[in-house]
């Protein structure tokens, strides 16, 4: 029993160090492959089982994202005027909204193929762009780009750009307006309300 645990622990450590050393393009390729493989095999995920999708995203995708930077980017100038507590809440609500958007994209997966564009990176660069294309029969390929930054020896995604549209900065004007109308707390409340309504819709859909 102890031995088995020990072996598992070693294996986990080994895979962790391999992950930490991954180059940005290798990291993105590996994570997308893993996620798509699960989606291909798991019917519940494709049918929109939100619990399962959330678990999948939590385990496979979220560890490679820098949500603080993403939230700061989406909020823009007003981020600096937010208190630590407000920042934490903003981050949590924004994360939930993005996870739902991402989960939605996963359920519409059918038989697309991801093609990665040649990746170039200069020595010492700490911010890079990994470019890919989703190819599907009978439709124009969709460009999906990932911006990653190096922090503490790990590459983390801070922006995802689909067909030229940043899922993060596209919120900037909407967030700025919320802050103008109701302050940072107003924005937090709006995001929370939005997440709540999405949860209700998802539950209704599941109940049907």
């Amino acid at each position: 029993m102890m031995k088995k645990l020990f072996v598992t622990l070693i294996a986990a450590l080994l895979s962790f160090s391999a992950v930490a050393g991954d180059a940005p393009d290798v990291l993105i390729k590996r994570v997308s492959e893993e996620v798509l493989e699960i989606v291909r095999q798991d019917k519940d995920v494709r049918n929109g089982d939100i619990q399962k999708i959330a678990a999948l995203v939590d385990a496979k995708v979220l560890p490679h994202f820098n949500f603080q930077r993403m939230t700061a980017l989406a909020v823009g100038r007003d981020w600096r005027s937010a208190s630590t507590a407000q920042k934490t809440r903003l981050q949590a609500e924004f994360k939930m909204l993005l996870v739902r958007t991402y989960a939605n994209a996963l359920t519409s997966y059918s038989n697309q193929r991801i093609v990665f564009r040649p990746f170039r990176m200069r020595d010492g660069e700490t911010e890079v762009l990994v470019r890919s294309e989703v190819v599907q029969p009978g439709a124009q390929p969709v460009q999906i780009d990932y911006w990653l930054e190096l922090a503490d020896g790990q590459w983390k995604v801070f922006d995802v750009v689909v067909a030229g549209i940043s899922l993060v900065t596209n919120y900037r004007e909407q967030f700025a307006r919320e802050v103008r109308d109701g302050g940072i707390d107003g924005l937090i409340a709006s995001l929370a309300a939005k997440n709540k309504s999405l949860e209700v819709t998802a539950n209704n859909r599941a109940a049907r």
């Binding site: 100038r77 009978g138 124009q140 911006w147 750009v161 030229g164 909407q174 939005k194």
Partner: protein
Amino acid sequence: MTLQAGDSIRRLKRLLVLGGALLVAAQVGAQDKQRDPFEGFNRTMYSVNEVLDQYAARPVAQAYDAAVPLPVKASVGNVFGNVGEVWVGANSALQGKGGDAGITLARLLINSTVGILGLFDVASEMGLERYNEDFGQTLAVWGVSDGPYLFLPVIGPRTSRDFAGWAVDTYADPVRSIRSSNERLSATVVRFVDIRAGLLPADRLVEEAALDKYSYVRDAYLQRRRNLIYDGRPPRMDD
């Protein structure tokens, strides 16, 4: 096809005068600091469009999407894409991208022959990339700024510059040169439905992701255009 190319160029010449006038209008607008000075009007038009879309365009697109098998849908898209390649190539050339123009011409030749009049996109399978160019992008490359944002029912979102560009694109559109008015109308409708059907997956995304759908669509449109103008690699704008 060469006839159509000649036709397009002749039209382009005639249009430069009109284009020039529109350019001036767009430039004047660009001095306005705000990107969306007509937001009130645009929001009204957006609501009108939502109703039209809900009761007409979306149901038709959904029916088309459900009823037409994938290979046929792919061919419809391919044919319209192929017909548009002359104009795409012309715009690449006007933007000084000779190499892209050459590839587009090669695509046209290959898909019109081996691809049986554009039904099959053989060129893409051979690794010849399809470029996305239009006259609005050409104007942007020539230095024309966005100008005020406008949203109109059915036509959708445009910057003023892209409105001018779109007017030129429409004028140069080969579908316009179809003689029979019935066939011309059919081609226009089929293309509209094909484009709307292609946008169906985006509906739910906007519905779920946006706090304010109008702003979300506007900002997505502006980012998308910027991406196309920079051919898929715009510099980051993070303040």
